[in-house]
Amino acid sequence: MSIGRLLEGALAISALVVGALLFFYSPELVRGWAFTIPGTTDVALEPAFFPRLSAVLICASSLILLITMPMRSDPLPANETSKEAYKKVGAGLAGILIYLVCILYIGFVVSTVFFIVGASVVGGYNNWKAVISTAVLVAVGLRLIFRYGLHVKLPEGFLF
């Protein structure tokens, strides 16, 4: 079985487990009271009613996916992606995560400049002049538009 199909199966099983957990633990997860008219509308008024219904649907759809998996023969993009490409995506994800954390501590403008320059150069575009000017223009431009045009304060951190 291909890696794509294995991942598909793993997703279906995970969804099945989440659905089952949601069904059995809904009353604990959904805290609160329900104004009920016993015997008539009490079920519909319970806050856990819809989550339990959704849990049934999640379980049913993941079961269908699991059962129909052997019948499926369409090629999956996951199988056609090289390890090299996954490594690049992993590095990209790490870069975005670091960028998000940096925004909080050193501010939007400086982090954005570093991120755009870093991602462009690592991505294989080495025209420093174009990269730095675009990065500064985007970071400063967005900050000015949001601060003075839309009156939204972007994270400043200890720099800006």
Partner: protein, 504 residues
């Protein structure tokens, strides 16, 4: 009605709205022309900007972007054989062949003319169809709304992916994410795990930006560093003569009008939208053609048919969104979020309660049609330059836009985390060939679905059969069951008629 339209035209004819429509159209054209970027992504990135300006400035910007983006996708389809959006995939077949023969300019201009006609049809359907349908929608109760949303979800699941099972799973997961927050009837916190940030539910903009913005960036990152892909178009792309004789357009008018009707009809159905209509229009144009063998070889009909159809969808898709509060596709879901952020709750009473604004929007849709033609025509030669923007620079800039767009809605760092997580989920789904549209649309629709189901049950003292006792609800529910069975049978046949072609 005509008085309303006339007074709305005067309201819209001010410099702020006109600039907004023009800017939206130009940005849309740019975004659509770049492979990988689509009207959906553009709307997700830029809709937060519109929350801070008045409705008749912000929403027309998004409408212009929607129309521009839908047409813009045809430019890259014709010039480099890569559709800017899924809606332009059918245009590629003959458009790219025309480009290879040095007739790219003719193909793009033909697509523009067809888009103008298609767009006009969709807009007229919106202007006259929405107020009429709203009169019927006022009679809808929770039972009818529940049935209609269920029907929409069924359609969405099918058309948004190759596998019905995957579409359904994506939709149910969308419902799960929508449950997080507050119970819509009782107001008690639900699935928040004690986190105060989750009490208001997941922010739809963070979700959309993650699923469509970050996911696309990650997909593009796979090919970073490979020079062949970094420069997507070579300098030798030749537009040829940018001139289409009006006689040529007239000769193909039958195809354009037929395709416009198809696009309008399919667009007005919730869930199907711009990805399906171009293929239906292309197929019918080929069947009706006296020279079907020329399709796929650079036929002018093969370019104008899908383009008329996909632009006709733009106006028509807004009908179910405005009248029932049911977005037909992702773009209209984002448009609906923007309307809600402006204090305009789509639904049967929207037109009656906000007549000035809604008729103003109708006129904006009409003006955007003309803006698309004018700016599409004037800026035709820019697009080759846009296609050579280096991908690493472009997509790292897009990440910055994703961040500001998401953060600005609630000034919330938590939303950035949600965006990141959904970016990863979206990437995994794309790799497993699971469509993202059912997840997003069910996320948007789940709250109305739950509310109408529970209210319906309360009205009928918990009796589920009440949904089948009301004629409209019963008809829609029966239609849903028929559609589901038909889809399952089709899927089953497809499975067993296909040879096994998986290699790894």
């Amino acid at each position: 009605m005509f008085e309303d339209l006339l007074s709305a035209a005067f309201v819209v004819l001010n410099w702020k709205t006109l600039i907004s429509i023009s800017a939206g159209t130009i940005v849309g054209l740019m975004i659509g022309a770049i492979p990988g970027l689509s009207a959906t992504m553009g709307m997700a990135l830029l809709s937060p900007f519109t929350f801070f300006v008045e409705p008749l400035v912000g929403i027309p910007f998004l409408i212009g972007l929607f129309k521009g983006g839908t047409f813009g996708g045809s430019v890259s389809a014709i010039l480099i054989g890569t559709p800017g959006t899924a809606a332009n995939a059918a245009t590629l077949l003959d458009g790219y062949e025309m480009c290879k023969k040095g007739r790219a300019g003719e193909a793009i201009l033909g697509a523009l003319h067809a888009s103008l006609v298609g767009d006009f049809f969709g807009t007229i359907a919106l202007i006259f169809g929405a107020p009429t349908l709203a009169l019927i929608a006022i009679k809808f109760g929770p039972h009818e709304f529940f049935a209609l949303i269920l029907f929409s979800l069924t359609m969405i699941c099918y058309v948004s992916g190759r596998s019905l099972a995957k579409g359904v799973l994506a939709a149910t997961l969308g419902v799960l994410f929508a449950l997080i927050g507050t119970d819509p009837l009782g107001g008690t916190p639900r699935l928040t795990f004690g986190l105060s940030d989750l009490q208001g539910g997941l922010n739809v903009i963070a979700l959309v930006t993650g699923l469509f913005g970050i996911t696309e960036v990650l997909i593009q990152m796979e090919s970073f560093g490979s020079r062949a892909k970094d420069k997507v178009v070579s300098a030798e792309v030749n537009l040829g003569g940018i001139r289409v004789q009006l006689k040529a357009v007239y000769l193909h008018l039958r195809t354009i009008i037929r395709s416009s009707f198809i696009g309008t009809f399919i667009g007005a159905l919730p869930g199907i939208g711009s990805e399906t209509s171009p293929w239906v229009a292309y197929g019918l144009a080929k069947r009706a053609s006296k020279e079907p063998e020329k399709f796929g070889q650079g036929s002018f009909d093969g370019v104008v048919a899908p383009e008329a159809a996909n632009n006709a969808v733009c106006g028509a898709a807004m009908i179910p969104m405005l009248v029932f509060g049911i977005p037909g596709d992702i773009v209209t879901a984002i448009l609906m979020s923007a309307l809600i952020a402006q204090g305009l709750q789509p639904g049967p009473f929207l037109i009656a309660e906000h007549r000035d604004v809604i008729y103003g929007l109708f006129m904006s849709v009409l003006f955007a049609t003309f803006a698309l033609y004018i700016f599409g025509r004037l800026t035709l030669r820019w697009w080759i330059r846009i296609l050579v923007i280096p991908r690493p620079l472009l997509y790292s800039t897009i990440v910055a836009f994703c961040v500001v767009g998401t953060y600005s809605v609630h000034s919330s760092v938590f939303d950035l985390a949600v965006m990141f997580v959904f970016g990863v989920i979206g990437y995994a789904f794309r790799k497993l060939d699971i469509a993202l549209a059912p997840m997003l649309l069910s996320f948007v629709l789940a709250k109305i679905l739950e509310e109408s189901l529970r209210r319906g049950l309360i009205h009928s003292d918990g009796n589920l059969l009440a949904f089948f006792e009301r004629p409209i609800a019963a008809t829609i529910l029966c239609l849903t069951v028929i559609v589901l069975i038909a889809f399952a049978v089709l899927e089953w046949r497809k499975r067993f008629s296909q040879p096994k072609n998986e290699t790894r």
